[in-house]
Point group: C2
Chain length 369, copies 2
């Protein structure tokens, strides 16, 4: 078992300047929450920016308190000797714009009105997230990152970095992601959105002085949860085992898989905000690398940093064929992307669970830059 | 374009005897709604029982009124010269037990209390459905069916016929179905169940004097809808086209796929009952051919009628590998099942949409009996 980065304190940076959203809207006093692991060298050329997924946070590795039970979300990948080796690299992870873990978003208090933004917050895009990350990197006085890496929606951010700030990073590591989600993924998110917005406690997004739309958010999470797994991982984890003592003729009896999804759906409502979930789903839905860039091929021409793509065979949320298309297009325009498709039964969750299979691939890629 | 069976009147048969459910519970005065197409010959040996899917009805072909806009659910397959050729065969389709299209179910009025059963109705199983169908076949004085056929949950009923009443049918036609649904399919149904039961208008199932839990039922249908399609059919049908005039930075803006799912979800609430949906999902979840039959292999030993299995390559609700397992097991025990896997991008819906590709396969199978 590799070492942990230990106890890490979250840090915050508040912009002095107004922040312009892709939509044209403007918000002042945006705060960005972040954590760092390892040491920035004197040349400031060993920094890796790690981007989190839909409901992730800046807490990617180690523990925020001595007695914290669970380490950060990518702990098996970030630390001494790990894929992102903190003996070599200075790893930065920030909570993305619009989230609810310290960076400004719909659940934050608007300093002007002293009330939570709610739906008054502008629609956030992946490009907005990336532009705020660049402001943090500037604040840390890092001119050029060694790598921008991420899985799932984090991978989308990494890809977008490559197109928006190609001069500001040596490489892009894009894991279990794509240049735009599939219509089927949008369909899953549609269930989530309707479930939240039809919960009577949602109250048009103005629920902060009252109870949250807990049922809607739990159902939303259940729909998401299915997309993180695979037919095979559902078989392996649950099979058709029945959970309820009363048996199959009991109207309210449950299979283990139902119990698990429900439990995790409601658990999620203890640490995530419903409006925020709508905002991050929206950002995921509307992200398209090619928007305003003429074509996907032309968008890829912008991505001059070295690139590694990793996919997982059973991932149906970000199916490997999407990456194959990107890689083929990049080759057509004379770029030299690397792509590894890892055989895994874990579905989309593999980017979190398959630390062992990813480690050497990532280490070799980072060493080659 | 083949001919229609024309205008067909629904028929009803009410049991004189009590009906014993698999759960041990007893209900009296069960009514079964059914339609027939074609003519029963004098020998009464040309009858085919067609079983409907989750939310289907007895109305499988033709029109119930001269001015009806849409024909029955399997109209392209049932009629003169069609797969189930009504010039040759007498086709029967009945609404299954627990549904809400004329056969007794949770939304029916209990003749004893004069109130709707609601959750007082016993949990219904596929075996219960099949046993009620047998009572109808007895009522029609048919000793041996020519075939029992069905797609999706209708295929499960056909398979169960083969094991429960092997002496009462010459053949079984099992389309886009399996001996038990996957844990992933149960997970989709779990979303539906939670969405309905957490809708405040559900009121513990006692909503008949008030509004229905429309939002919950619409969300439930949306989750189901995803499983009827495929990654490819979502691409083909919708792509990433945006539906809303206001554009992508509009918080409530929608992609076409979202619009479509929502529209159909709410449309569904105009013709289906929420409690009934919970009951039929439950029946789908708990069906397992092997329950109480020692093993799946032993269950298949019971199925002595001739069998044809049809699957569709992109069906992820009833993946072809499930049928492959059944077919291999049947061969191991010396049976001679036929199996055709049709290449289709339509996903599970293919059993309704792929009439052309199925027709010759089914015609040849029926001719061979």
């Amino acid at each position: 078992m590799a070492e942990s980065v230990g106890v890490v304190k979250p840090q915050f940076h508040t912009l002095k300047e107004d922040f312009f959203f892709e939509s044209g809207r403007v918000v002042s006093s945006i705060t960005i929450a972040y954590e760092t692991y390892g040491t920035l060298n004197e040349e400031k050329d060993n920094a890796i920016l790690v981007c989190h997924a839909l409901t992730g946070s800046a807490h990617a590795a180690g523990f925020n308190r001595e007695d914290e039970q669970k380490p950060g979300w990518w702990d098996p990948m970030i630390g001494p000797g790990k894929a992102f080796d903190t003996d070599k690299y200075f790893v930065i992870c920030s909570n993305f714009l619009g989230s609810c873990y310290g960076t400004t978003g719909p659940s934050s208090v608007d300093p002007q009105t002293k009330k939570r933004y709610g739906l008054k917050f502008p629609v956030v895009t992946v490009r907005d997230m990336v532009k705020l990350q660049k402001k943090l990197v500037d604040h840390l006085k890092i001119e050029k990152l060694y790598c921008v890496a991420g899985g799932s929606m984090g991978g989308m951010q990494a890809l977008e970095w490559g197109a928006t700030f190609p001069y500001a990073t040596k490489s892009i590591l894009h894991i279990a992601a794509s240049a735009a989600i599939t219509p089927m993924a949008i369909a899953f998110n549609a269930i989530a959105k309707v479930a939240i917005m039809k919960d009577p406690n949602w109250r048009g997004g103005d629920y902060y002085d009252d109870v949250m739309p807990i049922d809607g958010l739990a159902i939303a999470r259940m729909a998401g949860h299915i997309t993180y797994m695979s037919d095979e991982s559902f078989h392996d984890k649950f099979g058709r085992r029945y959970a309820t003592f009363e048996g199959i003729y009991d109207f309210k009896g449950l299979f283990e898989v139902e119990n698990y999804l429900k439990y995790n759906g409601y658990k999620f409502t203890e640490y995530f905000d419903a409006n925020t979930y709508l905002y991050v789903l929206k950002a995921m839905d509307i992200y398209d690398l090619s928007y305003g860039r003429n074509s996907l091929k032309d968008s890829l021409r912008l991505i001059t940093p070295k690139t590694l793509f990793i996919t997982f065979s059973s991932d149906f949320l970000f199916p490997p064929y999407q990456t194959e298309e990107l890689v083929n297009l990049m080759k057509e325009i004379g770029h030299d992307p690397e792509w590894v498709n890892i055989e895994s039964s874990y579905g989309h969750d593999a980017f979190l669970l398959e630390a062992d299979t990813q480690t050497d691939i990532i280490k070799n890629f980072l060493a080659s830059i």
